[in-house]
């Protein structure tokens, strides 16, 4: 049995990557039963620090001690042996195995697995923390929130009593997030230590005992949660006061720019993911799509972008029917699109920043003349965008996949907005993005609206929707429940509609 972690200390941690000092002399400490939140803007070095603790990276300087003893953690398996568990943003589960099989995977010392005893042990853990989960269900049947719970059980089963969670709620619905917060509280009450990375200040306030704030790789504050406030934390992170964006009340929408008429489309499973969606987006307005993700949001964005076939119905973009147009033609017609999967759809991770900035325009002047790339023009264009959109990067040649999440989003935003679209589809644009960048993104969307662009904003964040949208539509099981002006909405009504309940 592992010795229980009573006290963790990371001291003087420094980690350098080519061109960036990701962690600079960082100190953190944590006691048993404590919940430590790590806050910081995108690229502040939070994930790097946790990867060091979990043995994925070696620090260039500094050391880690557990219960007063210095330890060297060379790999995740050594971290697990010491009682440290980590839940990554991308789950590492085998979909075709059951929950129980996934939990015990790779742990059996004998050739034959004693599933019965193992299952009893797993059951003990889930009972102890009140984790509602069916051990015999297959992982592919589970929702994202449930899969995350499996990851947590996996870590606990391996004896973890210090759990690291990197932006665990970024992928969860609001309700699932609340459940997770309760679970984490319960776990810490039973003596486990938890390190939580999150951009959502309300969650941080609700669950943590202490907050360590990182800025540009350095610790800039370490405060008790009780002695601080959301505003104070925001100021510490960003280094200035935050002014949440609100739309101006003047609202002069123009002619319809993007229309969906009774659109049907199949999802990946072959069932109707969109079942008769009708929407109209006008110039100079932001139409919000509220709803729990998985109710057709992804498919909605994809049919508009021409990436998914419409099985019935009609889409009109900028006065022309675009239902059957190829993606290239739709882009030409003036559609901007910020996709949900920013790393693999919005960008090519191994391509450099400048290559990603011309992803949609690499073939036309001024970036290409007679099929020859005009490197000088491209470089000066890219460096001006990097500056204008505040993309933090060591150089234009840096592969985009190495940037932090918020900076990747800025690359996409810079590209999509400078193309001067007539309509812009933005799917979860602020997921996992820090509050400074969120504010910036909102201001850009509002600027687009002022410039007469019709914006379709898909989001799960009701606060985001109600603060910048003109109208909100609720999507439930592939159908639009209701479309209403934002003044007529409130959280309760939206919540009911999102659950498919009409009053």
């Amino acid at each position: 049995m592992v010795e229980k972690i009573q006290h963790l200390e990371m001291h003087g941690i420094t980690k350098r990557f080519p061109g960036v000092l990701s962690n600079n002399n960082v100190n953190i400490h944590l006691d048993a039963g404590e919940v430590l939140a790590i806050l910081g803007e995108n690229g502040a070095g939070k994930t790097t620090l946790m990867n060091i603790l979990y043995g994925l990276y070696q620090p260039d300087a500094g050391n880690i001690s557990l219960n007063g003893k210095k330890v060297k953690i060379n790999s995740p398996s050594e971290a697990i042996q010491l009682g440290i568990g980590m839940v990554h943003q991308h789950f590492m589960l085998v979909p075709t195995l059951t929950v129980c099989e996934n939990v015990i995977l790779g742990l059996s010392k004998t050739f034959l697995v004693d599933l019965k005893t193992a299952k009893k042990q797993v059951q003990e853990i889930t009972d102890k923390y009140g984790l509602a989960i069916n051990l015999d269900a297959y992982v592919w049947q589970l929702s994202v929130g449930e899969q995350q719970r499996v990851e947590i059980v996996k870590a606990l089963y391996r004896g973890a009593n210090l759990l690291i969670l990197d932006e665990p709620t970024a992928v969860l619905t609001p309700q699932e997030s609340n459940e997770l917060i309760l679970l984490l509280k319960n776990m810490s009450n039973q003596g486990n230590s938890i390190i939580l990375i999150s951009h959502k200040l309300n969650e941080v306030m609700a669950i943590s005992d202490r907050v360590t704030v990182l800025r540009d790789g350095e610790v800039c504050a370490d405060v008790n949660t009780l002695e601080t406030s959301q505003e104070a934390l925001a100021r510490l992170m960003v280094g200035r006061d935050m002014a949440p964006c609100r739309r101006d009340s003047e609202f002069f929408p123009g002619k319809p720019i993007l229309e969906l008429q009774d659109v049907f489309a199949k999802g990946d499973m072959g069932t109707d993911a969109l079942a008769g969606v009708s929407l109209t987006i006008r110039e100079g307005e932001i139409l919000g799509i509220a709803g729990v993700s998985g109710n057709g949001q992804k498919e909605l964005a994809e049919v508009i972008g021409g990436l998914r076939k419409v099985s019935k119905g009609k889409i009109v973009l900028n006065g022309k029917e675009s239902t059957k147009m190829a993606p290239a033609r739709i882009i030409e017609q003036g559609l901007g699109y910020i996709p949900e999967d920013r790393l693999h759809v919005g960008t090519i991770p191994s391509f450099s920043i400048w290559e990603n900035l011309i992803l949609k325009d690499h073939h036309q002047p001024p970036f290409a003349k007679r099929s020859l790339l005009q490197n000088r023009v491209i470089m000066s264009h890219s460096s001006s965008l990097v500056e204008k959109y505040g993309i933090k990067t060591p150089s234009l040649e840096t592969p985009t996949g190495r940037l932090s999440g918020g900076n990747i989003q800025r690359v996409i935003l810079a590209r999509e907005i400078t193309r001067n679209p007539v309509a812009l589809v933005a799917a979860y644009p602020t997921r996992g993005v820090d509050i400074g960048a969120t504010e910036y993104l909102h201001s850009k969307l509002l600027e687009a609206r002022r410039n007469g662009i019709g914006v379709l904003l898909i989001s799960e964040d009701l606060e985001e929707l109600t603060s910048i949208c003109d109208r909100i539509a609720v999507l439930y099981e592939g159908k639009i429940m209701k479309v209403m002006p934002v003044e007529e909405t409130d959280e309760r009504l939206l919540g009911l509609l999102m659950a498919g309940i009409v009053e």
Binding site: P18, Y57, Q58, L307, P327, I331, T347, I348, L359
Partner: protein, 367 residues
């Protein structure tokens, strides 16, 4: 040393280590085959560089390896794996030879480009078939290219034994399966008199530069790399992914086809049996060894040209079965491909760098 040149240096070290590893295991096989590995490797490594003959013969083998390798670079960079270069070489060789022997009186300025065009196009069609099958019917390109190799081989044999066989072979009754000799005016000039080194080398080197330029400086090359590196993002950006898969395979096939045409016009002066000589497979290794970079493939092709020649010489000198040479080549392939794992492992690289340069340096990944 700058961080970048250090990175390149590390890559070379790892690749050479892989090579040494392969040869060590190869030595075990040599001992099993009852020959002296020291003597065998001695011949293998000194033979190709000891005299004019060795060097020029190395370069003669470099030409088809480089051409095939360039095609491999294009296809792998575009995200499609081409195992079909053997068949594409044969298609190119027979296409080139057929055009050449049927227009014996045409002046070289017209005929030579025409013959190269025929070779390139035949290879391109043969490669393009696999690309089309992949893009339209989602047929795995590894399976289809391997199958197409078989079909190409049988068709090729049929043609040089039957319809295209040298009439002289028939009238003399010897029946060696080969086409008639191609018109002398399009024999590629010899760069060094008295050797087989021909001007195809210059052609291949120029093409390497051209492929580099194409992939990194043109918008079509950009698209092909985008399709390979991020197919979903490419589709999202309006790039017709399927079409570029077909194009990539056609270009790869075209390169291999040109290799066939060069072998016909530069070395054999006719299409003979076994003209592809395994270049279609070794070319893949050369491209991988060159880190899938057109210019990196140049030294890699020279290296593998020397290895092939060295293996031939070794076989003669210490009298081991030809199969043993294949074993050693296969080992080299396995080791080189596996070394990729180490080149992509940042902590291993950091470790190695610290060892070599004796100081702490940045933990960057391979290029």
């Amino acid at each position: 040393m700058s961080s970048r040149s250090r990175g390149v240096f590390i890559q070379i070290v790892v690749l050479l280590a892989a090579l040494v590893g392969a040869l060590l295991i190869g030595a075990v096989f040599l001992i099993l085959a009852k020959s002296d590995p020291l003597k065998a490797y001695g011949v293998m490594f000194t033979g190709p560089i000891s005299d004019k003959f060795g060097i020029t013969e190395t370069l003669v083998r470099t030409v088809p390896l480089l051409l095939v390798g360039l095609g491999i670079v294009i296809s792998f960079r575009s995200g499609i794996i081409n195992i079909g270069a053997e068949g594409q070489i044969l298609a190119g060789a027979i296409g080139a030879a057929a055009v050449a022997v049927s227009l014996p009186d045409m002046p070289a300025v017209l005929l030579l480009p025409l013959v190269f065009l025929a070779g390139g196009l035949s290879g391109a069609v043969w490669g393009g078939i696999a690309g089309w099958l992949k893009a339209r019917l989602a047929v795995n390109e590894i399976l289809s290219t391997v199958m197409l190799n078989q079909i190409a081989l049988q068709l090729y044999l049929f043609l040089i034994r039957g319809p295209l066989i040298d009439p002289k072979e028939v009238s003399y009754g010897t029946g060696v399966p080969q086409t008639a000799s191609i018109p002398q005016q399009i024999w590629l000039s010899r760069l060094i008199p008295g050797t087989r080194l021909h001007s195809g080398l210059i052609f291949a080197l120029l093409l390497a530069v051209l492929v580099y330029f194409f992939l990194w400086r043109t918008s079509i090359g950009y698209r092909m790399r985008a399709v390979g590196a991020g197919p979903e993002a490419a589709r999202y950006a309006g790039i017709k992914v399927e079409w570029y898969l077909i194009l990539a395979m056609a270009l790869a096939g075209g390169m291999a086809g040109l290799a066939g045409a060069v072998e016909v016009t530069g070395v054999h002066h006719r299409a003979i049996e076994g003209i592809s000589a395994g270049y279609g497979f070794s070319g893949i290794v050369a491209a991988l060894f060159g880190r899938l970079h057109p210019l990196g493939t140049i030294p890699a092709a020279v290296l593998f040209g020397a290895l092939l020649l060295g293996a031939d010489m070794m076989q003669r000198a210490v009298n081991i079965p030809a199969a043993m040479v294949m074993v050693i080549q296969g080992l080299v392939v396995l080791f080189v491909v596996s070394s990729d794992y180490f080149l992509k492992n940042p902590s291993f690289l950091t470790h190695l760098k610290a060892k070599i340069f004796g100081q702490k340096v940045d933990g960057e990944g391979g290029k």
